[in-house]
Symmetry: C2
Subunit: 188 residues, 2 copies
DNA sequence: GCACTAACTTGCGTACTACGCAATACATTC
DNA sequence: GAATGTATTGCGTAGTACGCAAGTTAGTGC
């Protein structure tokens, strides 16, 4: 969606507060009313790509061979979203934008969390069908929530770091591995 | 804060959409402007008690004896927030309100997530000081995120259930236990 | 008792967002 | 060619967010 991209670019350049909905609409060549037909707010538009990526996670998990252990399948389905920029990993400029916007603006942080939560539901379904759980089983929901939480913690932690000792994908991988293994392997 | 309580009650009675900020202010006896001095939106006001409860989690963890294993300390600090209604557990009417509002309205769900995320940061600090981690260590953040995520998954799952086979506190306990143990004990 | 300060509250005005409604344009189908 | 469905738009309205300045109240030191 062009609107989402334009909103993202404008917000990255001028800051979220100074971007106006009519401005975004004009950049794409539609009316402000049309913008609101697609997005309820500029925040939602900016985060839209993230929610797409979150939705992809469940698909990636479903595409993995059923023979693969759940733990590694989870780790890889998530981590491949943070592969090298450009290809199927991160879109260009996402890192800069994320740092400047989502990590900084509380309003966007809320939208980001909502997007992740939406993806979490899909992931829970994918997990449930993979481990053959009943529909009202608690476990898939907890697993999905835990994995997404670890992913989010890793991303935020990576942005907090001043010195970059390892690429984002590796940090995400480590975090999910940590979450999947639980406290058993750590300092009890 | 009276405003938060009034907002909650009014929203519970009339639905979120039909509650107006001036209405909330009038119910407490202040001006609408004063409302916005304290809360940026009615959603934030409604969720305010939840964010207080989230903040309490970190304190509860810090108050637990250092000799207690981290896993059980985490489980209990969270689960005691969901104790029997009235005392130090859930405030009266919280369950009904939560089901009718937070679980149903997407806007409130976003605020709820933000509140949980804020509490998560405090929890991460408490965990870090408990296990003596460095400030830039990934582990406390992942642990905090995982625990909060499991808590949230349990609450939402409990509300999705039509038949209540066990009290909320037990479900929360089970979820956090599950998260803390990781995938090791489950279907790999 | 008297000024002084700080925190809280309020009214006013402004900018912006959200959205219902109705009208239009365009493409698709029968 | 007529009918139907979808996308877009302008307009109008309701409501929220917030800066600013003025007023109130409580507390403090002299």
């Amino acid at each position: 969606m062009d609107l989402a991209l334009a909103a993202f670019e404008l917000a990255k350049a001028d800051g979220l507060a100074s971007v106006r909905v009519p401005q975004i609409a004009e950049a794409v060549g539609v009316s402000p009313r049309t913008f609101n037909n697609y997005f309820p707010s500029k925040e939602a538009a900016i985060v839209f790509p993230t929610s797409l990526r979150a939705a992809r996670m469940a698909n990636d998990l479903a595409d993995r061979p059923a023979s693969e252990p759940l733990a590694s399948a989870l780790i890889e389905s998530v981590a491949c979203l943070y592969g090298p920029e450009g290809q199927d990993g991160l879109p260009d400029g996402w890192l800069d934008g994320f740092r400047a916007l989502v990590a900084a603006e509380p309003a966007l942080h809320g939208e980001y969390l909502k997007a992740m939560a939406a993806g979490e539901r899909d992931l829970a379904d994918a997990i449930a069908s993979r481990i053959g759980a009943a529909a009202d089983d608690l476990e898939p929901f907890v697993l999905a929530a835990v994995v997404v939480a670890a992913e989010r913690a890793a991303v935020l932690h990576w942005f907090r770091q001043t010195t970059r000792r390892s690429p984002l994908a590796d940090v995400v991988r480590a975090a999910i591995d940590m979450a999947v293994r639980g406290l058993t392997a750590t300092s009890c």
